[in-house]
């Protein structure tokens, strides 16, 4: 239920058995089925969700009803609306499951208590947030300065598994392309 969570945690900050026992008391195991919402826009996001198994995405929907995907999360990733989680303001993203998934949630309340109680959690969180910042900067740079084709190439070399598991029209939305453009680009690239 928490195997991958603690494996990833230990890669960042080594834990003793006692630490794991303590941390476990603060974690919420949660199963979610494909297409179910974990968060809807407007609600406060009072959790971070670590993916033990499955796949999720966070996204917004514009006035025309077009989905714009911000992030995908496969096994070992964490997904949340960090803006809402950190400020307590209503969420601007929705999060739903792309596959039946098993998650480890850390509630805002558990997060605050662990920050006070466990220095190792604080270190882990600092690394998690740094990671999220770096990923965001990368994403911003790529969308400002790379061509559409370069964006796709960079994405598929960084995250080959996502190309396999996530529907193409969603990858197109993530990269800011129309599905038609993505499909044209892919066939052009395979011809090369």
């Amino acid at each position: 239920m928490y195997e991958l969570f603690f494996q990833k945690f230990n890669e960042k900050v080594p834990l003793t058995k006692e630490d794991e026992v303590l941390f476990k008391t603060y974690l919420t195991p949660k199963k979610i089925r494909k297409k179910q919402y974990l968060l809807q826009e407007g609600d406060p996001c009072n959790f971070t969700a670590f993916v033990e198994k499955g796949a999720l995405r966070s996204y917004t929907i514009d006035e025309k009803g077009v989905e714009r995907i911000f992030q995908f999360a496969l096994e070992g990733w964490t997904i949340s609306d960090l803006y809402s989680f950190l400020t307590g303001e209503p969420a601007t993203y929705q999060i739903d499951a792309l596959e039946d998934s098993e998650l480890v949630l850390i509630s805002k309340q558990a997060h605050e208590e662990l920050l006070k109680k466990a220095p190792k959690y604080e270190t882990y969180m600092r690394l998690q947030l740094s990671g999220a910042y770096i990923a965001m900067q990368r994403r911003l740079t790529s969308s400002i300065s790379l061509s559409l084709e370069e964006r796709y190439v960079a994405f598929s070399s960084l995250y080959p598994e996502m190309i396999q598991r996530i529907p193409q029209h969603m990858i197109a939305s993530y990269l800011g392309l129309t599905p038609e453009t993505l499909s044209r680009m892919r066939s052009k690239m395979t011809r090369k």
Binding site: K24, P29, Q36, Y37, L39, Q40, Q109
Partner: protein
């Protein structure tokens, strides 16, 4: 809240369980019903869907999976059965809201089987130390769920627990069921709440309330 919360109701085919399930089905909840008699359970699911076309409800096969999926768990089982189920769901109910509706009545309905310095809810909390145990729906009879307004007044439904966020969530559920939620205090207040239902049952038998009775606090 816009995001649909999932509620696992254990003991859904019982009198209280089916009343709670039916009344919560009209709210923005996804209900996973678990009962010991699968046929009755399927019939209940069909009946709820028939009554509320938009209801998001299904029969669960296993305790663990239902509770694992749930955000909130309602143990709609007698006090004597609570312990065994709590043991089964302990791990998957970690950090979740677990509602205890049980009144620990003795066989002759003239006293409680719990010691005076504890309650069914507190015993459950001891067994599930990392869950947020809340006492609710214990001062309301099953018949009240279809008639939550008696004598022109919405019946009060008392809630006790130690986690403020959980109390808000449960208050909303109580309101969905049509009752007037009153947060009574921390979990130790459950002793009083369980005693209140003992009294109401005794009075009901004495004065023939036909199981359609509830508490109402009159105040200015």
């Amino acid at each position: 809240m816009k995001t649909k919360q999932t509620i696992a109701i254990i003991g859904a085919t019982g009198t209280m369980g089916s009343a709670i399930s039916t009344s919560l089905a009209k709210g923005n909840y996804r209900l996973l019903l678990k009962g010991t008699r699968q046929e009755e359970l399927n019939a209940l699911v069909a009946e709820i869907k028939n009554r509320h076309a938009a209801a998001d409800v299904e029969a669960a096969v296993c305790h663990t999976d239902a509770v694992w999926e749930a955000d909130i768990i309602i143990l709609a089982v007698p006090f004597a059965a609570e312990k065994e189920i709590a043991e089964k769901i302990k791990e998957v109910a970690n950090q979740k809201i677990v509602i205890s509706i049980a009144n620990p009545l003795n066989k002759t309905y003239n006293g409680l089987v719990t010691a005076p310095d504890t309650s069914a809810a507190e015993e459950l909390q001891k067994q599930l130390p990392n869950s947020k145990v809340v006492k609710a729906f214990n001062t309301t009879f099953a018949a009240d769920f279809s008639t939550p307004v008696i004598d022109g007044k919405p019946v009060d439904a008392f809630i006790a627990g130690n986690n403020e966020e959980a109390m808000q969530t449960v208050s909303e559920m109580v309101r969905t069921a049509g009752f007037n939620p009153i947060v009574a205090g921390d979990l130790s207040i459950s002793r009083t709440l369980e005693g209140m239902q003992l009294l109401l049952i005794q009075l009901g038998n004495k004065y023939n309330y036909n199981r359609l009775a509830g508490w109402k606090i009159l105040h200015n």
